[in-house]
């Protein structure tokens, strides 16, 4: 990211990075604590018949609780910002495509924002 006349370190830029890092960190905690169980149940245990599927009515009753909606919103949004940060640096460092850095940034955080808006919309309308 250095070696460019526009990339002079400034305080706004530094504080933006700190904020994005905070989102990354919070998303990392949320992903670590919440995702394994839910992915195990919905991705493996229920489809393979290891455990009985919860009924549509049961899931809808859960989704109507404001606490569950808040839980699901946090579980969708923060991990996406975690992904955005990590994936961005994986692409920066792993592929060494410096000329595409702005595109990568827009793709990652644009994706995270889009996912957040979709989650809010779906949870609002459910």
């Amino acid at each position: 990211m250095t070696g460019k006349s526009t990339a002079k370190p400034s305080t706004t830029k530094a504080s933006n990075e700190a904020f994005l890092w905070l989102l990354f960190s919070a998303g990392g905690v949320v992903a670590a604590v919440l995702i394994p169980m839910q992915l195990f149940l919905f991705g493996l245990a229920f489809p393979l018949g290891w455990l009985p599927q919860p009924s549509y009515e049961h899931l809808m009753a859960l989704a109507h609780s404001p606490w569950v909606r808040l839980y699901l919103f946090v579980m969708c949004s923060l991990p996406l910002f975690h992904w955005a940060h990590r994936f961005r640096f994986t692409l920066y460092d792993g592929l060494q495509v410096k000329h595409l850095n702005e595109v990568i940034f827009a793709f990652c955080y644009g994706g995270a924002l889009l996912g957040t808006v979709l989650a809010a919309y779906l949870l609002w309308s459910i």
Partner: protein, 144 residues
């Protein structure tokens, strides 16, 4: 002169020399286990994003009614989706374990002048994880 001024001047000058950078192979991380582990850890983020996308589709199916949800559940039973989710689950577990074990490194706890062993600092993370997972499992599996 500080290093920063040197860099600033270099950037401002019109004819500054090109930095000498040795070309690193794109596959540099395959050489050593530590590097590979680092890259695998970075790639766990793809599984995290995949899970969120799956959840968004699930919410959409729920919103569209029982038939749509039955179709969604049916699709999750295809061998391809099972395989994909099994891989994603392994990566997510790798994220959880590496993330929890990082906490004592990022924030060393000292007690009575001695450093508390790392597994004791990481332990509360695992306890919280087990408690939350048990609660979520109970919410989904209990018969109302």
């Amino acid at each position: 002169m500080t290093d920063q001024t040197v860099i600033d001047q270099a950037v401002r000058s019109e004819f500054h020399p090109r930095w000498y950078r040795e070309r690193v192979s794109t596959w540099w991380w395959l050489g050593e286990w530590h590097y590979l582990k680092f890259i695998l850890r970075e790639l766990t983020s793809i599984s995290v994003a995949w899970f969120v996308v799956l959840t968004l589709f699930q919410l959409r199916a729920l919103l569209h009614g029982p038939e749509a949800y039955a179709r969604f559940s049916g699709r999750l039973q295809s061998p391809f989706m099972i395989a994909l989710n099994a891989i994603a689950f392994c990566f997510v577990m790798f994220h959880t374990i590496t993330w929890f074990n990082l906490a004592p490194r990022a924030m060393p706890v000292r007690m009575g002048g001695k450093r508390v062993p790392e597994f004791l600092v990481a332990a509360p993370n695992y306890l919280l994880w087990i408690a939350v997972s048990a609660f979520v499992g109970w919410l989904l599996l209990r018969t109302p």
